[in-house]
């Protein structure tokens, strides 16, 4: 399948600070892509270059199989991390204004705005000023603004940051629906649990560099099932075992990380010699563990 986004070695420096360091990545059409990394890793800078807010010093941005040009932005919906609205504008006027900036004719922008407001329970507020809305409602207006022109590529920078729980669920559902409709979704976050649940592929960046990129399942598989969760009665005697890299013991429950190449079955046999094992499960590493592992190696 074609790529919705291709970054080819984009590079950006501010003064002497390298914000993005020859970053390359491909985002498949119709996938949900997670841009991961700690704060200040270069996520926002990369996204800004993706949609022409800033230009890379080097490298190329390709959208929908073409070298970046501004007309493509009518197919992109963007929700920035720092987002706001004109406080004194009326909700409907505001949405129409933003929709028209994305190329919608006025009547189309109006109809779609009303439909979205209906869907997100904002219908009673369309003729109120933005400043009269609660923060949660303003967030909904911002989502609508990003999605009004039915973009093929949706880019959201830290979309879940600052959301109330109800809106977070709503956003997740909207994203899943967009995915079902074949839209490509890219979002950045520093929260791994969301990525694990939503994303097909990821790019992990740190200090502006890509340190891990690709299909999430493949990445996890490549790390192998080297984690064990074990429930026991007695003492499984894990201290000093040549099979164990590290473990977290909670008393009658332990999480074990195996040494590379160690055999989980052998661990089970040895533990069973000393304790009564009530549950034994082999697991893939969580993304968080992979992240800490990779960042640790690169540090």
């Amino acid at each position: 399948m074609a790529n919705s986004v291709e970054l080819r070695g984009i590079h950006k420096t501010f003064d002497h600070f390298i914000a993005v360091d020859r970053l390359s990545l491909n985002i498949r059409e119709g996938s949900v892509y997670g841009l991961l990394g700690p704060n200040g890793a270069g996520k926002t800078s990369s996204i800004r270059m993706m949609i022409g807010i800033t230009m890379p010093d080097e490298g190329e941005v390709w959208l929908f199989g073409e070298n970046f040009h501004r007309e493509q932005l009518q197919r992109v919906g963007y929700l920035p991390e720092e987002r706001g609205l004109y406080k004194r504008m009326k909700v409907l006027d505001h949405l129409i204004f933003l929709g028209r900036l994305h190329g919608l004719p006025e009547h189309e922008a109006r109809e779609r705005s009303l439909a979205w407001c209906e869907r997100l329970q904002l219908s009673e507020w369309t003729h109120r000023k933005v400043e009269e809305l609660s923060k949660g409602m303003q967030q909904k207006v911002q989502f609508i603004a990003a999605l009004l022109h039915d973009p093929d590529l949706v880019i959201m920078d830290e979309p879940f940051a600052g959301l109330d729980p109800a809106n977070a669920v709503m956003l997740k559902n909207v994203l899943l629906e967009l995915k079902k409709d074949g839209k490509t979704i890219l979002f950045s976050t520093h929260r791994m649990d969301q990525v694990e649940r939503l994303c097909d592929a990821i790019c992990l960046i740190d200090h502006g560099r890509s340190i891990l990129e690709g299909d999430l399942k493949k990445i996890k598989a490549s790390y192998g099932k080297n984690h064990v969760q074990m429930q026991y009665e007695g003492d499984p005697r894990l201290d000093g075992s040549d099979l164990v890299q590290s473990f977290n013991n909670y008393g009658n429950y332990v999480e074990v990380r195996l040494k590379p190449g160690a055999d989980a079955q052998q661990l089970l046999r040895r533990a069973a010699d000393h304790a009564r094992i009530t549950r034994f499960e082999l697991l893939e590493p969580s993304l968080e563990e992979i992240f800490i592992d990779v960042v640790g190696k690169n540090a």
């Binding site: 800033t54 501004r70 009518q74 987002r83 706001g84 609205l85 933003l98 900036l101």
Partner: protein, 427 residues
């Protein structure tokens, strides 16, 4: 272009619909009309006749001073300022020829008790030195002081001329003031009086100054607001920083132009005969259509020049408080041109006026003054406009680079070296 149009449209409609716009549009003419009409009304409401006592050892002199004080004001030189003639004080004058210390004390008491407005003390020793004393509660009333002074002087002159053998009518003829009529020559035709031109020019210059500043600052404030409300990045996903800046400046400029047009319409209405009491006062202020057209031109050019600077300022700072500390580079040239306005008004064809009015930052005000005085040859106007356009273009290029970087920068405001680097960023 479509995007720029949408931004202009939003900027224009949101502002025109706001209550602030309505208020300012209506208040400004009211303020202007008030500043003309209220002093005129106040002058009419003067507290009535002033009761004063003239004390002189010489009965003839005292009588002469009394006669001068009661005489009707001379017509002529004050024709340009009708208010002065209309409000000339009337006096009730008593005369005393016994300048004793006791009388002086009693007069003092009467003045402080309010039964008397003042007394004029003329004794021979003082008169020999051309001195006299006028004592009153209200000695800051320069108009009354001037009338009293001129009455004493005229009385003395008449007296001494009479002593030299001149007859009454001869003295009157000699003392009749010369009436100087000022006529403004415009393109060979005789136009309105000098004072009227001065007032009209002053009026329009102030309006120009106020508007250029208000709308320039308005651009800055709305950029700060967009920055702090974080709407900018949402907009930047569909429009470029350049389009945003252009749309904002054009949109706000259109609002300013609309406001001026409304004011002109109100002005035309007010100056319709019989509309307002101050009409007589305004009637000889004839503002030619070309001056109004030039007003529009210099408003727009001045506005573009200053609003681009204010836009860059707005993009650099994070709050209005910060902006206030940074405003002086944009404010200074405007203030300077206001300081320079009066010398240029007096000598609009002097070499200094020519050079200063060609400086693009001063031109909106100084060149406009020279245009009003009809002292700006076509080549100077052409040069001035060309210089302004070039400057605006240069500033726009500079500002849009600062703007483009600045609107994405939050936190600390840039130092000068940082600003220089901003200009070099690729985008």
């Amino acid at each position: 272009m479509h995007n720029v149009w949408l931004i202009i449209r939003r900027e224009y409609l949101e502002r025109i619909r706001s209550k602030t716009f309505l208020l300012f549009t209506l208040l400004m003419p009211a303020l202007m009309a008030g500043s003309i009409l209220i002093p005129a009304k106040l002058a009419e409401m003067k507290s009535g006749a002033r009761h004063i006592v003239v004390v002189a050892p010489n009965a003839d002199l005292a009588a002469a001073v009394k006669q001068e004080l009661l005489a009707p004001p001379p017509a002529g030189p004050a024709a340009d300022l009708p208010e002065e003639a209309a409000s000339k004080d009337e006096f009730i004058v008593q005369v005393s020829t016994t300048p004793t210390a006791g009388l002086r004390d009693s007069l003092r008491r009467q003045v402080s008790a309010g039964t008397l407005d003042g007394f004029l003390w003329l004794d021979d020793a003082d008169l020999a030195n051309h001195k006299a004393t006028y004592s009153a509660r209200d000695v800051a009333d320069f108009q009354t002081n001037a009338v009293v002074r001129s009455a004493v002087r005229t009385a003395l002159v008449k007296q001494s001329l009479a002593q030299k053998g001149m007859t009454g009518p001869e003295v009157e003829t000699l003392l009749t003031p010369v009436e100087l009529t000022t006529v403004h020559i415009t393109k060979g035709r005789e136009g309105a009086s000098g004072m009227a031109v001065f007032l009209a020019g002053f009026f329009m210059v102030m309006l120009l100054y106020v508007n250029v500043l208000i709308y320039g600052i308005s651009v800055m404030r709305s950029i700060i607001e967009e920055k702090s409300s974080r709407i900018l990045e949402v907009l930047l996903s569909s429009v470029t920083a350049k389009e945003l800046l252009a749309g904002k400046i054009l949109g706000v400029g259109a609002v300013g132009l609309t406001q001026i047009l409304i004011w002109l319409a109100i002005g035309a209405l007010i100056s319709t005969p019989g509309m307002v009491a101050g009409k007589a006062y305004l009637s000889n202020v004839h503002i030619p259509v070309s001056a109004i057209a030039w007003f529009g031109v210099f408003f727009l050019l001045g506005y573009f020049l200053y609003s681009t600077m204010y836009a860059a300022l707005g993009a650099m700072v994070n709050s209005e408080q910060e902006a206030q500390q940074m405003q002086w580079p944009a404010m200074l040239p405007v203030l300077l041109s206001i300081f320079l306005a009066s010398p240029v008004m007096q000598h609009p064809d002097s070499q200094m006026a020519v050079w200063l009015s060609l400086v693009p930052f001063f031109a909106p005000i100084l060149m406009f003054i020279r245009v009003m005085a009809e002292q700006a040859p076509a080549w100077q106007l052409a040069l001035c406009l060309a210089l302004m356009l070039v400057t605006i273009y240069g500033l726009l290029a500079l500002s849009s680079r600062i703007y483009r970087v600045g609107i994405l920068m939050y936190g600390k405001r840039p130092t000068l070296p940082e600003l220089r680097r901003w200009l070099k960023y690729a985008g």
